[in-house]
């Protein structure tokens, strides 16, 4: 028998690949088993739930299936780490190093075969699970009518599923990367966990550091739905999956204010995410291969092959712990002690003792200094320019505006996404104005508040820009309401707003009579049979229901939409405020709406004090004559407490007088106004006088960009009406007040806070005759 020189040209990659598959057959079957328990069980849960609903069986029959499916799927996803550890075990298991490295393979063949065979073992069972789930669904849906809400979302679930797949790919690849720079089993497992956790942790902590140090307007939670978080790690992918899934449901639900995306932006976001997540995965893979190629067989059992990566992870972890400690405690010394304990324990473990320990002390010092330096730089640069960052109008796809409103009840200034150019321009102008107030405080005049009669005016606004590049920029401010006047006008007069509010009206009407609550227009049209229309007066003190048909409801909402699209600034400012129809305000300029209401014999309710008195035992009203509008300078300071998170090394802004001082402004926007309270009003006994009725006709909840001459506060109903400064209104007001009786001071002590005290708990001063 003689040895002959081989002339066969074997594909060594293929040989290694097939041997790896044979070697990991057990893992493959475990993955298959978990997938059989996963998606198909989820489908069974849906079928069981649908069956129960169909037959009105109200038990938790599907809960067990859901639990099995969830646990199985979580375990299956975690298999990505197990498979990576198994396929690359020769990198940290000394006894099999020779066997693997002596085989006739080069690094490229070995790495690619091990990586790809692992992918095969990881993902092929998923295909099995999906196919089985489809078969179960196909068969099951023949016998059970699947809940429509779920059946409609199946395509969306399928699309969202790709996010999970890419996230799993990233998880597996990151696990391989972590293993390439380890030399022992403990380090491999620890590093896999560390790498997966450290990426989102660092992103979160960097952002939170920026927010906590001169982070005017920045929102700490914004990091958890931003692209850097979503695209760079499996944990981020899971967050994106949750958000994408939720937004997909929310796209059909106008009441849920979580979604900030238009459908077009939402879908483009998905494509961008897929592309970027894949790019990051490829980057991780390339880094893994570079480290793999450079490491040597004899590196097994050595502590951390790549010192760069080891110290990179350690430094990142140190920074995260330090920044969080500073946030929680604010004490730098305590933070340094905690991170020192962490650092030196890790150094002792990886050095297997105290060899050359002085280098560990030096590296610790450098890392701590760098971390504090970064934090200081955040402060000095206003969050690396984040505070002053305002996107250009051309770069924005859509903008979501969310602001609280005393009158909101989801009807005023709620949470809508706009792609209207004028609205976007107005938002940017407001944003610039706010930032300018922050940067150039000395350029703005802060007048002291005079007079005892005051409206405490404050509003909040959250702006979410969705840019064309796929990022979301979020800001949150507290500002005086007058700043938002122009934006509010632009909002109210644009088509998107009209569409949104007419849909709100239709849904509100539909929900008076449907078997199940509906939350969007298509469901309202589907499930509404007949309905009731609710008409309320402008202070919500009186109401009446009218029975209407579905067609009438549709006609009304369409008419309302038309009116809103034709509304002008003059209408908002000068039309008579007639009342509310199923929660939607109606002005005298809404001719289409009024025509439909007239056809249905629906009438608005005039304010009637006697009715109010009889029905609600309300006998008082607070009236403020020539009130000052009070805001605070502090809105334009960076108040760490307002973000509720970081403390700036113990320095508290609110101790400074300037920060707290009140400021008097000359106008307000009641459509976006959170009223903290009133001060210095007078309490009158409520009589049903003609003069007062006349006053109630001109009083309106809507005041935009002007200062009212008087305010009427119906505390019982949480309603405030403003008397605009129009010709003749002053006389009407004076006559109305004269027709009422001031409640004597001695009677005030019998009332609760709402009646005898102002919003600060001070007894309300009364007129002295």
């Amino acid at each position: 028998m003689t040895a002959t020189t081989s002339t066969k040209n074997k594909n060594m990659f293929a040989v290694r690949f097939s041997n790896d598959l044979k070697d990991s057959s057990r893992l493959f079957w475990v993955s298959v088993f978990l997938n059989v328990l996963g998606l198909p069980m989820g489908v069974i849960a849906v079928l069981v739930e649908s069956y129960n609903q169909q037959h009105q069986i109200y038990t938790n029959g599907s809960a067990a299936f859901v639990m099995i499916a969830a646990i199985a799927l979580i375990l299956y996803i975690a298999m990505g780490i197990v498979i990576a550890l198994f396929h690359f075990r020769y990198l940290y298991t000394k006894s099999i190093v020779d066997m693997n490295y002596s085989l006739p393979l080069n690094n490229k063949q070995r790495f690619s075969a091990d990586y790809l065979s692992g992918l095969f073992v990881y993902f092929v069972p998923l295909v099995v699970g999906i196919l089985l789930a489809l078969v179960v669904y196909g068969i099951g849906s023949q016998f059970v009518h699947v809940i429509e809400e779920i059946s409609v979302m199946i395509p969306h679930l399928f699309v969202s599923g790709f996010i999970v797949v890419i996230g799993m790919l990233m998880l597996y690849t990151l696990a391989v990367l972590a293993i390439t720079f380890c030399g022992s089993t403990f380090e491999a497992i620890f590093s896999v966990a560390a790498v997966n956790g450290i990426i989102p942790a660092v992103i979160a902590c960097i952002w939170l550091t920026i927010v906590g140090n001169n982070g005017f307007g920045l929102i700490d939670t914004a990091v958890f739905h931003g692209n850097p978080m979503f695209r760079t790690s499996p944990i981020g992918s899971a967050m994106f999956f949750g958000k994408y899934l939720e937004d997909g449901f929310v796209q059909r639900n106008i009441y849920d204010s979580i979604s900030v995306y238009t459908p077009e932006y939402y879908h483009s976001l998905y494509i961008r995410w897929l592309a970027m997540a894949l790019i990051f995965t490829v980057i991780y893979l390339c880094i893994a291969f570079v480290i793999y190629s450079r490491r040597k067989a004899e590196d097994v059992a050595k502590p951390y092959i790549s010192k760069v990566f080891f110290y990179g992870i350690m430094s990142a972890a140190l920074f995260c712990i330090l920044s969080l400690m500073l946030a929680v405690d604010g004490n730098p010394l305590a933070a340094v002690i905690v991170v020192a304990i962490f650092w030196f324990i890790m150094e002792v473990i990886t050095r297997r003792g105290f060899k050359k320990f002085w280098t560990a002390i030096v590296s610790f010092g450098i890392t701590v200094a760098a971390s504090f330096g970064f934090i200081g730089l955040c402060k000095a640069t206003n969050g690396f320019g984040a505070v002053n960052k305002i996107p250009s109008a051309n770069s924005i796809s859509c903008v979501n505006i969310e602001n609280n409103d005393y009158y909101s009840r989801n009807y005023f200034g709620s949470d809508i996404t706009f792609s209207d150019k004028e609205v976007i321009d107005s938002v940017i102008a407001l944003h610039k104005d706010i930032v300018d107030h922050y940067n150039n405080r000395n350029n703005y005049e802060y007048k002291p508040v005079s007079g005892t009669s005051q409206i405490i005016d404050q509003t909040t606004i959250k702006i979410s820009y969705c840019t064309k590049s796929g990022s979301t920029i979020e800001r949150y401010y507290q500002i005086p309401s007058y700043m938002i006047s122009d934006l509010m006008l632009k909002k109210m007069t644009c088509e998107e707003n009209a569409e949104y509010r007419s849909e709100q009206m239709l849904v509100s009407i539909a929900n008076t009579k449907t078997d199940y609550p509906v939350s969007n227009k298509s469901d309202a049209l589907k499930y509404m049979k007949n309905a009731q229309l609710l008409v309320e007066d402008k202070v919500y003190s009186d109401n009446k229901y009218y029975n209407i048909t579905k067609d009438e409801a549709v006609e009304l909402s369409e008419a309302y939409k038309k009116d809103l699209m034709e509304i002008t600034e003059d209408d908002l400012k000068n039309s008579e405020f007639l009342g509310y129809v199923s929660g939607a305000f109606v002005l005298s300029s809404f001719r289409n709406t009024l025509a439909v209401l007239d056809k249905m014999n629906v009438e608005f309710i005039d304010f009637n004090a006697k009715n109010t008195f009889d029905r609600y035992s309300v006998s008082n009203v607070e009236i403020l004559d020539e009130p000052g509008i009070v805001t605070y300078e502090k809105y334009f300071y960076n108040d760490p407490h307002s973000s509720g998170y970081f403390i700036d090394y113990g320095r508290y802004y609110y101790e400074e007088d300037n920060y707290r001082s009140e400021n008097s402004v000359d106008s307000m926007c009641s459509m976006s106004s959170v009223q903290i309270g009133t001060r210095g009003g007078y309490l009158y006994r409520l009589y049903d006088t003609d003069e007062f009725k006349e006053l109630m006709k001109i009083a309106t909840p809507i005041i935009i960009g002007e200062k009212p001459i008087a305010v009427i506060n119906y505390n019982t109903f949480g309603t405030i009406l403003y008397v605009p400064d129009r010709p003749g209104n002053r006389e009407i007001f004076d006559k109305a007040v004269e027709s009422l009786d001031l409640i004597p001071e001695e009677e005030l002590v019998q009332y609760n806070n709402h009646y005898g005290y102002d919003s600060y708990g001070n007894p309300m001063p009364q007129k002295v005759y």
């Binding site: 028998m1 003689t2 040895a3 002959t4 081989s6 020779d98 002596s102 006739p104 040597k296």
Partner: protein, 309 residues
């Protein structure tokens, strides 16, 4: 042919091989001798492409073997561990290696397997130590590579097993000009199987020669010198006999008998010692083990020194 040219291999600050030069011709049975930690296993791992040299060259048939699948197919390395094969059955192990080595001979495998009666379908971790060793040697031989590297291959084998394994190797060497490199502390086996050997100490080659030449060049001398006029036995030292042609490796006296280990030609020895008119002069051939001990003693690797430490 295998060549190591000024090869240096370090593990962090420890230098395992310090610029060694070694040539191993094709078809020989080469023994690697050395103290513990001398660098024997390192050489084998360099030759099998597991390690890469820090400097210098490691060539097989003129080409570097590291990261080269084609060159690695010419080499089969059997290390001193067997735990890595524990989960395999012999059949699976055969299939595993057959996929990597295109020259794998099923006939050789079966012939050898039947000779030692190893079961195909039992897991290797149920085998005895000797059986595990046999199994991997059979696989190694069946792969029909040009070079077979064995690291401490005979350790743990009973005498009969050793004979069987040695016979397998010898048959293969005779059949197909297999070049075998064996690293072992069992110098008796190296003596029996190998025709060439190298002694390594502290990462350097002490010698690399034909074993017969080695044995022929180092001798044990027992000599008794004639008493002088006063009836005393003459006091000689090693330096009294060292010359260019004769190197004294070990010089010891016990009463009247001098026990000397010397490297040099036998005729030279007779001439040098004969000039002192000894009463008794015996030249005894040394075993390889004795040569090993005495050669390293000169280099300071001495059991007496270790005891003193």
């Amino acid at each position: 042919m295998i060549e190591l040219k000024n090869t240096v291999k370090k593990f962090d600050e420890y230098t395992a091989l310090d610029g060694i030069d070694l040539k191993i011709d094709k078809g020989v049975a080469f023994g690697l001798l050395g103290s513990n930690g001398a660098g024997k296993s390192t050489i084998l791992r360099l030759l099998s492409g597991i390690y890469s040299p820090d400097s210098g060259e490691v060539l097989i048939d003129g080409k570097s073997v590291f990261d080269d699948p084609e060159m690695k197919q010419k080499v089969f390395f059997i290390n001193d561990e067997t735990v890595q094969f524990g989960g395999f059955t012999l059949k699976k192990l055969k299939d595993y290696y057959r996929s990597y080595y295109p020259n794998f001979s099923y006939e050789i495998f079966e012939t050898l397997r039947k000779k030692v009666d190893l079961p195909l379908d039992k897991k290797i971790n149920t085998f005895s130590k000797g059986m595990k060793r046999q199994a991997i040697v059979i696989i190694g031989l069946a792969c029909c590579t040009d070079y077979l590297l064995l690291d401490e291959a005979f350790d743990g084998l009973d005498p009969t097993m050793r004979i069987i394994v040695k016979k397998m190797l010898v048959d293969a060497m005779l059949d197909r000009e297999l070049t075998t490199i064996i690293s072992s502390h069992n110098l008796k086996e190296i003596n029996e199987v190998c025709d060439t050997a190298a002694l390594i100490h502290n990462g350097k080659i002490v010698f690399s020669r034909d074993i017969d030449d080695v044995k022929g060049s180092v001798h044990k001398i027992q000599v008794v010198f004639r008493k002088d006029e006063n009836g005393n036995i003459p006091e000689y030292k090693a330096e009294d006999f060292n010359s260019d042609e004769l190197q004294i490796l070990h010089f010891e006296r016990s009463q009247s008998i001098y026990y000397i280990i010397a490297k040099g030609d036998e005729d030279v020895i007779r001439a040098v010692f004969g000039s002192k008119k000894p009463v008794l002069l015996e030249i005894i051939p040394l075993t390889l083990e004795e040569i090993f001990i005495y050669e390293l003693e000169v280099l300071g690797y001495d059991s007496n020194n270790i005891n003193e430490e």
